[in-house]
């Protein structure tokens, strides 16, 4: 089980700052830095093996971006390869800039995905519900229920998949078309089952008084010294991030030529951010004393 390792506010602030910086940066060096900070924290959560699987799966997306961007974007001045005239599409130009832009965007996607992965590994759904319900009771519950629906649907999908195969459907064999055709009814069953299940859950919640008035909270989180350290590191990271962007270091223009990298300055920013990230990961602390009843 996940124990309450940090205060919800510290976790949420940390992941919001990281994802905002990942969204704003276009420079692969800075994106790499955010990726590393995220990775260190994921490793601290002892989630390296499952994260590795996630990364392996995400690599296909990077590959997709890297390959597709140069095919559809002919911007960029350093031409690596030029095709003959292709009907409808015209002439294809593969440029270095388009290739690097595609790779950077793929990297950005993996970084943001990893930040969400970190949030999911770090934050307990019950803890999230308690925290968010202070501000938006119904939306928080809806969000929590949606998140908890996925593992249930996954189990359900495995069961339905077995039944489809028991009836003779080729969901793991044959051409891609055959498999897609076989999987379609499976989604239909899952959708119907999920709808029926959500009605059952809504009824159970109604029977237990959900939504009849102001809720109280079973557990009240307290901010521990480790949370303060983590929040401090997050704020320093945010300041460093804004400054690096303000000085133009985190940005990179890809078209028509790659501009915007000033290595000496970058090194300082990057070293600073990495340092703060590592201190932040060290501040991720023990589960003791974090679960309180007021």
């Amino acid at each position: 089980m996940k124990s309450y390792k940090n205060h919800s506010f510290a976790i949420i602030l940390y992941t919001i700052v990281l994802s905002t910086l990942a969204l704003l940066y276009n420079n692969p060096l800075y994106l790499g830095c955010i990726f590393c900070i995220t990775g260190i924290m994921i490793i601290r959560q002892r989630q390296l093996a499952p994260w590795g699987k996630f990364l392996l799966f995400s690599l296909t997306m990077v590959l997709f971006y890297t390959l597709c961007n140069p095919l559809f974007s002919s911007s960029g001045s350093t031409i690596l390869w030029r095709s003959g005239r292709v009907p409808i599409i015209g002439r294809i130009r593969i440029t270095l800039e388009a290739l690097l832009y595609g790779m950077t965007m793929g990297g950005k996607l993996i970084t943001i995905g990893s930040i969400f992965y970190l949030y999911n590994a770090w934050m307990d759904t019950d803890q999230a519900l308690s925290f968010f319900s202070r501000f938006a009771d119904r939306s928080a519950l809806l969000f929590t229920m949606t998140v908890s629906l996925f593992p249930r649907l996954k189990r359900e999908a495995l069961e339905v998949g077995d039944i489809m195969r028991a009836r003779g459907a080729s969901i793991q064999q044959g051409s891609l078309f055959t498999r897609i055709k076989a999987v379609y009814p499976m989604w239909k069953v899952l959708l119907i089952t999920a709808l029926e299940g959500s009605l059952d859950m809504a009824e159970a919640m109604e029977a237990r008084g959900y939504g009849i008035g102001r809720r109280t909270r079973y557990q009240t989180e307290i901010i521990a010294p480790s949370d303060r350290a983590l929040i401090g590191c997050t704020l320093i990271l945010l300041v460093l991030g804004i400054m690096s962007l303000g000085y133009g270091s985190g940005n990179m223009t890809f078209y028509p030529v790659i501009t915007g990298s000033y290595i000496p300055w970058d090194l300082w920013w990057l070293m600073g951010m990495m340092g703060v990230g590592i201190i932040g990961a060290a501040a991720y602390s023990v589960p003791t004393g974090k679960e309180e009843w007021s």
């Binding site: 089980m1 028991a166 009836r167 009849i212 109280t216 009843w293």
Partner: protein, 548 residues
């Protein structure tokens, strides 16, 4: 004092013309234990939902008459007070859970009612220790067994300090031991805490002992409202399917009153001479093996082996029931036999050939697999399309079997209906039909009796026996010991991934603590090998003849 009172209550679900409740009059006294029985679709679930206002407040529809809680209309009673005082536990524990961990799930209702945190902590800890859930309080709910989940659901209801507890078939998903434990807890909270219990249950045989009154419903109406002893006398004349096996055993004996419990049944035998049974040696209908597992092992990642070096042989025309606790590896066994998962060790042979060598689409023509949830088989617009889908998947062009199976399962008049609109029993049969249309030689059925009423169980049992007589091999996983004792010939008892018993039902079900039918318990220590009502009745008749 009256806890609940229903006066002339009539209810129609939105868009329906048939009344789900039809002029129902019922009074529930404080501290009573009420057992509600009746065939599927008779309005039992609607009735208890009307008691706490879910009908019509959640479902909509039209309601008439009066529903009073402590002499006040439920709709005018303060809602947060009403929901605290009338607790509810549903059939499927998984579908009623909102939070992630046991402790938070139990506290969820209290949070909704705005209870102060200190009071919440006291109540949660108290109820967790009362139900023995304290060691599990930090566990994530999906890691719990079925029985633990249902106990958590019960804890979540009890923590609200209800005066009335409504339970909608809470044991239908549980194995015999977990079901027994839950019913024991209900008896205890009724006796010791004084909570009024209103229980709907299909596995009624173990509930008669706790019930103060039995309500029998049909077609949205209450047909009988009486004490258990009178109900059994009435059922013996009018509705024999609803009698507990121990009462059925003595139905045709000349005795004053029918027994309700094993203890009472045994008292009827005091001073009688029981002749020794000479059972003719029972052999398998055929010696042709159709399915053979040799030292088969299987494990899910991160878990101990679900099956450990299991060897089983099924011959043609056998009807075998597999019993065991939740998580014992029963469903895994069926999936291995259907070729849906591959063993990590050992060999599975189907009709003499290694199962993995079959083309995946050849196996469903020989082995029909019915999973636990019939809903997973039903997603087409009509039943006919649903069954035709299986034929199309296996490349069978002839559709004649659809009509034949429709007639066989008594669903011919439902062929153009949406299978999702069918009643519980019809849905079960519709799912069964979707595998029977290809006429498989072997039927693998995973808990097909779950949540179905005694009449439908008899229909299903008779149907399966006919299939067996036609030479089909049936292997069925079930928690229903009475069903297994009545219809199968052979029992496999699976515990913790190991076959601990495999043999004739008269041997395996004889003298067990949990895995024995009521009739066997009546004759425990007196004679052995009596597991069905028919066998018991025959024995009692012999006893009369010898003047015992």
């Amino acid at each position: 004092m009256k806890a609940l009172q229903l006066k002339e209550v009539t209810y129609l679900y939105p868009g329906e013309t048939k009344k789900a409740l039809d002029e129902v009059n019922l009074t529930v006294l404080q501290g009573e234990f009420i057992l509600i029985l009746g065939p599927s679709g008779c309005g039992k679930s609607t009735l208890i939902r009307a008691m706490n206002g879910l009908v019509p407040q959640f479902y909509g529809g039209t309601i008439g008459g009066q529903i009073l809680y402590l002499d006040q209309e439920v709709y005018t009673y303060p809602k947060h007070q009403l929901l605290g005082e009338i607790g509810m536990v549903f059939q499927d524990p998984e579908k009623q859970m909102v939070m992630n961990t046991v402790e938070r799930e139990v506290a969820f209702g209290l949070e909704n009612l705005g209870i102060a945190p200190k009071e919440m902590k006291k109540r949660v800890m108290e109820v967790l220790s009362y139900l023995g859930l304290l060691p599990l309080r930090h566990r994530e709910l999906h890691t719990l067994s079925g029985g633990e989940k249902q106990k958590t659901a019960l804890a979540a209801a009890l923590v609200m300090k209800p005066t009335v507890l409504l339970l909608d078939e809470p044991t239908s998903q549980l194995d015999p031991t977990a079901a027994e434990e839950l019913l024991h807890i209900l008896h205890q909270v009724n006796q010791e805490v004084g909570i009024t219990i209103v229980l709907l249950e299909q596995r009624m045989d173990r509930c008669f002992v706790s019930a103060d009154r039995i309500i029998y419903m049909e077609e949205g109406r209450i047909s009988r409202d009486t004490i258990p002893r009178e109900f059994v006398q009435w059922a013996a004349q009018k509705r024999t399917a609803w009698m507990p096996p121990v009462a059925k055993l003595f139905k045709d004996q000349e005795i004053d009153s029918l027994p309700l419990t094993v203890k009472e049944g045994r008292e009827k035998l005091i001073g009688k001479t029981i002749p020794t049974i000479t059972r003719s040696p029972c052999t398998a209908p055929s010696t042709t093996p159709v399915l053979r597992l040799t030292e088969v092992s299987f494990g899910y990642p991160k878990y101990p082996l679900a099956l450990d070096k299991t060897s089983i042989q099924c011959t043609q025309g056998e009807f075998i029931c597999v019993l065991g606790a939740n998580g014992a590896g029963k469903s895994t066994l069926l999936k291995l036999m259907a070729g849906l998962i591959k063993p990590v060790g050992g060999k599975i042979e189907l009709l003499g050939q290694v199962l993995s060598r079959y083309h995946p689409q050849e196996v469903p023509k020989i082995v029909g697999y019915l999973g636990q949830n019939p809903g997973h088989y039903l997603f087409h617009d009509t039943l006919e399309e649903e069954w035709a889908y299986t034929l199309a998947l296996l490349g069978i062009t002839s559709r004649t079997s659809i009509q034949d199976i429709g007639a066989l399962l008594h669903l011919q008049h439902r062929m153009q209906h949406n299978p999702r609109d069918l009643s519980g029993g019809e849905r079960q049969r519709a799912a069964l039909g979707s595998i029977l249309v290809v006429d498989p030689q072997i039927l693998l059925l995973d808990e097909p009796t779950r949540g179905i009423d005694p009449i439908l169980k008899i229909e299903l049992g008779d149907f399966l026996q006919k299939q067996q007589q036609q030479g089909k091999t049936i292997l069925m996983v079930t928690h229903d010991i009475e069903f297994a004792a009545t219809y199968s010939q052979r029992i496999i008892l699976l515990i913790d991934g190991m076959v601990v018993a495999d043999g004739l039902k008269e041997e395996v079900l004889d003298g067990g603590l949990f895995y024995s039918p009521q009739v066997n318990k009546v004759f425990y220590g007196i004679t052995s090998g009596v597991v069905t009502v028919e066998q018991g009745v025959a024995l009692l008749d012999t006893m009369k003849e010898v003047g015992g």
